[in-house]
């Protein structure tokens, strides 16, 4: 590509998209006990909606550019976490599609991969490895990870013997060291003591400054304003507003002012 053509195409364009979401929809059964047949199970994604099912999210379309910080706003049960899981590709949509260009560091259920019986050291290698880090990369970052989590004395302690605060600290430390261009954060930071939470936040800011893309789900207005520049407002499974974070939060507050 020659120089003129590139500058021409980039002139009025936003940064290249890293997440493209198009007409995204997913439905769940309302009642876990409702009868399910083999036919349902194998039915493709095109079958019609049955009674007793509802759309947790439907018709959502948006694009996220590299380096953007997006906050997802909405009350409980409006599809925020579902959207995050779809973007993380740990859930598959019934309608539309998600395209993610580049690796993802999912801070969702961060302690999930840790094995109680194994030592902290083993767990760090295991979790980092499962998220795609090579052994040498873990070797290189190991000290940094441990130092950040402040649990240097517990390297050879089985994970189950750590306090719950330590568990979250080491988990956050590992996942936040993944050298992935996209970060997905789902209220993991609600846990842990205040000092460490601030440390996590600084780490996220550091990563943002380094050009990472952030996709952030939270109920905390302060956190949302602190990290995010753009907001997505979900209500009843619909994306009702896609604007600057201040505008989205104002609208959200106005909608629920009387509640």
């Amino acid at each position: 590509m020659n120089h003129a053509a590139r500058t021409g195409s980039m002139a009025d364009a936003a940064p290249p998209p890293v997440i493209e979401v198009e007409n995204l929809g997913i439905r769940f059964r309302r009642n876990r006990l409702s009868r399910r047949s083999f036919k349902d199970l194998f039915a493709g994604s095109t079958r019609r909606t049955r009674s007793g099912e509802f759309w947790a999210l439907r018709g959502a379309s948006f694009t996220v550019g590299a380096g953007e910080a997006i906050g997802v706003v909405g009350r409980n049960g409006q599809g925020k976490s579902t959207l995050l899981k779809l973007v993380a590709e740990v859930m598959l949509p019934d309608e539309g599609h998600v395209r993610v260009h580049g690796g993802v560091a999912p801070l969702i259920e961060i302690t999930g991969g840790f094995v109680p019986e194994l030592t902290v050291r083993d767990n760090v290698y295991l979790t980092a490895g499962l998220h795609g880090m090579k052994r040498q990369e873990v070797d290189a970052r190991f000290d940094e990870i441990i130092e950040f989590a402040e649990i240097g004395d517990f390297l050879d302690t089985p994970y189950k013997h750590l306090s719950s605060g330590m568990k979250v600290r080491i988990a956050f430390s590992v996942i936040s060291r993944l050298e992935e261009p996209i970060m997905l954060v789902d209220e993991v930071l609600a846990v842990g003591d205040k000092g460490f939470r601030e440390k996590c936040y600084r780490r996220i800011e550091e990563l943002l400054a380094g050009g990472r893309t952030l996709f952030f789900v939270s109920h905390n207005e302060g956190d949302l304003r602190r990290f995010c520049t753009r907001g997505l407002y979900l209500n009843q499974g619909q994306l009702v507003l896609d604007a600057s974070i201040d505008e989205v939060l104002d609208r959200y507050n106005a909608d629920y002012a009387e509640v």
Binding site: R99, P106, I110, G112, V115, E117, L118
Partner: protein, 264 residues
């Protein structure tokens, strides 16, 4: 439809295999770091079974099936059976046990079944020295057919993976299936040439038995010590059936994946 467009196939495959290895190692570590007997537990089950059948069929009944030394004959099938049986029983729980990891990592989800096949397979390979010890002490002759072990292991891995991919998602929706699988496994134990040989079946059952892929696979293992147990027809059918099961497994797994992820 979900597309990760800029990761090409090779690094993705590499990542799959490195994660597979990590998970299998994790399983083995957990199993061996938490128990004193460790490795010996995985041997205890097939050895006890072998001892029981050996006693029953050489001391109580007059054995006219199988070959001598009967204990080696038994172990050549019981050790691979332990691999098969253990993997399938564990796949019935795999989504339950791994649900947290499945909800937070996007590794292709066949890996949860595949890593079970691998970790149990490693245990099986680690149990082969026991077979060698028994063979030495009973004076069983090893033949060049021992090389068939490699083929048998490959076929069994394919078959077990295929069945596991069918069982794992279905159990998520039909919890009762768990019990049905237990019964089926017990039935399959007697329907497969373990305490008897493929050649001991009446001629009328020969073709039917070949469609149990374990017949061909177990007879392959056995031909290392008992070359007359090798039966080309049964082995070829077993090979084809294994591939059919894998194809079916992948199909079932793909079709149910979306629903499984919502359920766990």
């Amino acid at each position: 439809m979900t597309v990760a467009s800029d990761t090409s196939a090779l690094p993705r495959l590499e990542r799959y295999f490195s994660a597979l290895w990590l998970l299998a190692r994790r399983d083995l570590r957990v199993r061996y770091s938490t128990s004193f007997l460790g490795y010996f537990w995985s041997l205890l089950d097939p050895l006890l079974m072998a001892a029981i059948y050996y006693f029953v069929f050489t001391q109580v009944f007059n054995r006219d099936v199988g070959e001598s030394p009967y204990i080696v004959f038994l172990l050549t099938a019981l050790l691979p059976w332990t691999w098969f049986n253990g993997t399938i029983s564990d796949t019935t729980r795999v989504y339950l046990v791994e649900s947290k990891l499945i909800r937070s990592t996007k590794i292709p989800r066949t890996i949860w079944v595949a890593s079970l096949v691998l970790s149990k397979g490693i245990e099986f390979v680690a149990s082969i020295p026991v077979l060698v010890i028994f063979a030495v002490f009973t004076g069983a002759q090893v033949h060049w057919e021992a090389f068939y072990f490699l083929l048998a292991i490959a076929m069994q891995a394919v078959l077990t993976l295929g069945i596991g991919l069918i069982v794992a998602p279905l159990v998520v929706f039909f919890r009762d299936l768990n019990r049905a699988i237990k019964l089926l496994l017990r039935f399959l134990f007697y329907a497969s040439p373990i305490i008897y040989g493929v050649t001991d079946l009446p001629a009328s059952l020969h073709v039917l038995a070949a469609f149990n892929p374990l017949s061909g696979i177990l007879s392959l293992y056995r031909s290392a010590f008992f070359p007359e147990q090798f039966d080309a027809f049964t082995v070829v059918v077993a090979g084809l059936m294994s591939l059919v099961f894998l194809a079916l497994g992948i199909l079932v797994f793909r079709r149910t994946e979306r629903a499984v992820l919502k359920e766990i």
